[in-house]
């Protein structure tokens, strides 16, 4: 390609795991009922004042550390002033780059198809969300539940070269939010929203010189990672076509909107710097010196992160990179797997069960992880039942599908379905001889060198035992018995 693509991201993620909002004592919960989690300050009633949620600051500082950012000596907040119906105060409490936000200038490594990639972080800042507008045929309703919910905005340098890189980064960050217990980071709940900027430059020029960069086009409020991928690819295509046609001057600095329905970007407004937000330091929040000891405490409390778990899975448990990648993607799945290992399940077997059967069934049945009744203990017991040859692996799959959502234990299902595997050789010898007695013609075929009839004969044992016979034992017994004839 003759163009070099430069992509930068702004990832907004709601902090969902604090008890209260960013600057208000209202509950920070995802309520189905409109305007159920609000205090007077969330609707900006006259005389209300913001109060900083220390827990949100702690989480912000932790994320800042994980991203390799510098933490400020003093914590400040600023007002971003603009009018919009979903912004009750007429300003958003946020952090600009001056004074320093909760995180500045970091570097983060993520992986794409097994290859490690580095990305520079410009800054991470803590701010509050706006209310949400719900559109009805009769008009728009404003729901203030979201007003004041803490939000971390992560701004990267334009270091991504493809949509795949951008999405791999977003997925890595999302799982960190989940692993650290900062956020569910659930796009379906609108907790993650991205702004994407894309520019194309002549690949032969030096990309360290901003003069050579192409015109930057920003796309606002892309609400899913799939959307981010599509929007970037659409925009690369659009800009490439314009450049190829010699119409480079038609690429203007502007804000475009990603439209899911038409799978295209639509121009919203030209010149991104058209709005002057009149930032100034929020006078109602005194500047706060961040104690060194607190930072150390936060640093120590950072839990094992997804890529660290992945390394452990591969190096200590010996599972494949591919499986490890799948397991760590969702913290809940990874936690489930870890618990199985804690219960001394075989790591490789457990990995197979989780990646193939668990995730496969969730996908097939369109279930959320939270909807299953299967516990790590149940999976461990199921693996044990197979290992001790009490049930066959084929039966185990059937049991698994049952216990996934039934709330029953594997032992209960095995009992209920009369599934016990027949491993008693004496019993199997008896049945093998029954089968041979009923099929003298097949014995003849065997004697004439048709060895493949063993499979059919073993099948007859399985049939007579309704699948309960251990297939390996059934086969070896059959060979022994037919040889005796």
């Amino acid at each position: 390609m003759k163009y070099k693509v430069m992509i930068g991201l702004e990832m907004h993620c709601e902090i969902s795991e604090t008890k209260t909002k960013a600057f208000s004592s209202a509950k920070n919960d995802y309520s189905e009922y409109p305007n159920a989690s609000i205090r007077p300050v969330d609707m900006a009633f006259p005389g209300t004042l913001p109060t900083v949620n220390k827990e949100a600051v702690r989480m912000g500082l932790m994320m800042s550390m994980i991203l390799g950012c510098t933490q400020p000596e003093y914590l400040y907040f600023e007002r971003k002033n603009y009018y919009y119906p979903d912004l009750p105060k007429g300003f958003q409490i946020t952090q600009e780059t001056k004074p320093a936000p909760i995180g500045s200038f970091g570097e983060f490594t993520y992986e794409l198809n097994g290859e490690k990639k580095k990305i520079r972080i410009n800054n991470l800042h803590l701010e509050e969300d706006a209310a949400s507008s719900d559109h009805y045929p009769s008009g728009t309703r404003i729901n203030y539940n979201r007003a004041g919910v803490p939000l971390l905005e992560l701004v990267t340098e334009p270091d991504f070269r493809s949509a795949d890189e951008a999405v791999a980064f977003l997925e890595a960050i999302r799982s960190i939010y989940q692993y650290t217990g900062i956020s569910e980071a659930d796009s379906k709940k609108g907790q993650v929203r991205c702004d994407v900027n894309v520019s194309l430059m002549d690949a032969s020029l030096d990309d360290s010189d901003p003069k050579n960069w192409g015109t930057k086009v920003e796309m606002k409020n892309v609400n899913s990672f799939g959307g981010v991928r599509d929007a970037i690819n659409y925009e690369i295509k659009r800009q490439t076509e314009l450049l190829d046609a010699g119409k480079g001057d038609e690429i203007v600095q502007e804000t475009r909107r990603w439209d899911e329905e038409s799978s295209s970007t639509i121009s919203m407004r030209e010149k991104v710097d058209a709005i002057d937000y009149k930032y100034f330091v929020e006078p109602n929040i005194p500047k706060f010196k961040i104690p060194k000891e607190w930072l150390l405490e936060i640093k120590k409390s950072i839990p094992t992160l997804p890529y660290e778990r992945k390394e452990k899975y591969i190096n200590e448990y010996g599972i494949t990179d591919y499986d490890a990648t799948i397991i760590i993607k969702d913290k809940k799945v990874s936690d489930f797997y870890d618990e199985c290992i804690n219960l001394h399940a075989d790591p490789k077997l457990a990995s197979n069960w989780v990646t193939t059967n668990l995730l496969g069934n969730l996908n097939k049945l369109e279930l959320e992880f939270d909807e299953i009744t299967l516990t790590p203990k149940m999976l461990k017991d199921l693996i044990d039942l197979v290992n001790s040859k009490e049930i066959s692996s084929k039966q185990a799959k059937e049991v698994f599908e049952d216990i996934l959502t039934s709330g029953k234990t594997p032992q209960e299902v095995v009992k209920e379905k009369g599934m016990k595997q027949m491993s008693d050789e004496g019993e199997i010898i008896k049945i093998a001889n029954e089968v041979l007695d009923e099929n003298p013609d097949v014995i003849l075929k065997y004697k004439n060198g048709r060895n493949n009839v063993i499979d059919w004969l073993t099948g007859q044992i399985m049939k007579k035992t309704r699948g309960q016979a251990n297939p390996t034992i059934a086969r070896s017994t059959m060979i022994k018995e037919i040889e005796k004839r």
Binding site: N81, G90, K278, F280
Partner: protein, 485 residues
């Protein structure tokens, strides 16, 4: 027998001894309220159904008082004297008022102010002009005009005020009473309609220094809803007043007080400054050392602009919540922005709109450093200069304004350049958050004038003590306006 023109201590004693009941006091205060409403137009609301409270050990129990109408009061109209909130009945009460209520104080009216505290004349209230009880052709100054007029008229012993530039201390001087704003953060601002958050103070208007101490003792306290509030539970202002000021050191500023600075001085100004020097002599007789100090004229000259820039910038942001969407009378409009524009255009007085324009202008990206940041730098210089003075002196003593209350006719709320610093120097108390009190110190042409004492932060007791000692050697303590023209 009337009680409302007496001191809190006297009224409390009468209540405790059973000479009068709370309900009799309320009846008297309400009757006087209606009288004063006819003469001075001091109130937005008279609470005719105010209920008596039990008499306890608390000085304030059972005693009526007035609340400036920019304090949020649950279930009682709270307008900020603005058409934008002309029907606004809050569902929560300001912390300072809540604290007074806990002590048994009985609110009998809500007093008029310059719209949202943004004026110094008492002429921009949505209910009309407040007139001075000493002379109804004159102003009370503002913005706590209604509170000053009512206390000076003997409606009750005290009313709450708020002070962003001099809004308690100037009207107190013009009305011959005491006006006290304690150190920034001693009283919570939660529930006070904001004007400029970094300058706004709550405080009290009374007829004696001890009453001011009692009232602020009742209002103060750390508040989880105001991060700028601090714990003053170890401070009892009232019981700390002992009148012992021997050896205390005061200073006044030559550039402000010397009559030679004002070649065009009128008779009133000459008398006012001469009277001030008499007061200085009284201080010396009390055993205090008083020194004339010199401060950079250039720095002082910047004071009014610094105030305008900072207060207007914060105000324009603070009042962006007034849109008519959530509260206030919603305006007509095809779209939300049209409705917002109509509400704000019709609701605010021209004076306020002028300040919003200034505030927006100084915050614009291209102007911010030149105006807003420079204003903050000069604010810091002024505060540092005063803090230097406090290294040598217990307090700074200065005359309030250029003389007695100004005539209503011809008043424009626009400063005379020659005497601007004399009119505006009280703003330094807001820049630094200093404790500052105005007490009456004489009469010029039968109209009261005042003197101000300002000390260093957290040194409220010292400031009150000096004011108390000085008050004791003058004849204006407890005075009530009588026989106004």
């Amino acid at each position: 027998m009337a009680y409302m023109d007496k001191s809190i201590e006297e009224i409390h004693e009468a209540l405790v001894k059973g000479k009068v009941t709370s309900s009799e006091l309320i009846k008297e205060a309400l009757e006087k309220s209606h009288e004063v409403q006819d003469k001075c137009n001091a109130f937005v609301t008279i609470i005719d159904d105010a209920k008596e409270t039990p008499v306890t050990d608390e000085f304030l129990s059972g005693i009526p008082y007035g609340i400036k109408d920019n304090y949020s009061t649950k279930g009682i109209l709270s307008t900020g004297s603005s058409n934008t909130l002309k029907d606004y009945v809050p569902f929560f009460t300001a912390t300072a008022i809540e604290n007074l209520t806990k002590k048994g104080a009985v609110a009998v009216n809500k007093t008029a102010l310059d719209e949202f505290g943004m004026g110094g004349t008492g002429t921009t209230c949505h209910t009309g002009i407040v007139t001075n009880p000493w002379d109804h052709t004159r102003m009370c100054a503002g913005s706590s005009a209604g509170s000053a007029a009512a206390v000076a008229s003997g409606v009750y012993p005290y009313a709450t005020g708020s002070d962003t530039g001099d809004s308690i201390r100037k009207p107190a001087a013009y009305c011959g009473i005491v006006g006290y704003k304690p150190t920034y953060g001693m009283i919570s601002r939660y529930g006070l309609f904001p004007f400029a958050s970094s300058l706004d103070h709550c405080g009290a208007l009374t007829r004696s220094v001890k009453d001011a101490a009692i009232v602020v003792d009742g209002m103060k306290g750390i508040d989880k809803y105001d991060m700028t509030s601090w714990d003053s539970s170890d401070i009892n202002l009232y019981s700390s007043i002992d009148g012992n000021v021997g050896g205390k050191k005061l200073c006044y500023i030559k550039e402000i007080c010397d009559i030679n600075n004002y070649p065009n001085a009128d008779e009133e100004l000459k008398m006012h400054l001469a009277n001030f020097m008499d007061t200085i002599e009284k201080c010396r007789k009390l055993g205090m050392e008083v020194t004339e100090e010199s401060v950079s004229q250039k720095l002082l000259n910047a004071l009014p602009s610094v105030y305008v820039v900072i207060s207007c910038a914060e105000a324009t942001s603070n009042m962006s919540n007034l849109t008519g969407f959530i509260f206030g009378p919603r305006a007509e409009g095809e779209k939300w922005d049209e409705s917002l524009k109509n509400y704000r255009t019709k609701g605010f007085s021209p004076l306020i709109k002028r300040r919003f324009v200034i505030g927006s202008y100084v915050l614009q990206a291209q102007n911010k450093d030149r105006y807003f940041h420079n204003a903050q730098r000069v604010r810091r210089l002024l505060v540092d200069t005063w803090n230097k003075l406090y290294e040598k002196y217990d307090a700074v003593i200065l005359p309030v304004g250029t003389g007695p209350a100004k005539k209503l006719e011809g008043s424009k709320d626009i400063l005379d350049q020659n005497t601007a610093i004399l009119e505006e120097h009280l703003q330094i108390g807001n820049f630094g958050g200093f404790p500052s009190i105005t007490i009456p110190n004489g009469f010029i042409n039968d109209l009261p004038v005042g003197v101000n004492i300002t000390g260093k932060c957290y040194d409220d007791v010292n400031v009150l003590n000096i004011a108390y000692a000085l008050e004791s050697v003058m004849n204006y303590k407890g005075q009530v306006a009588k026989g106004a023209k």
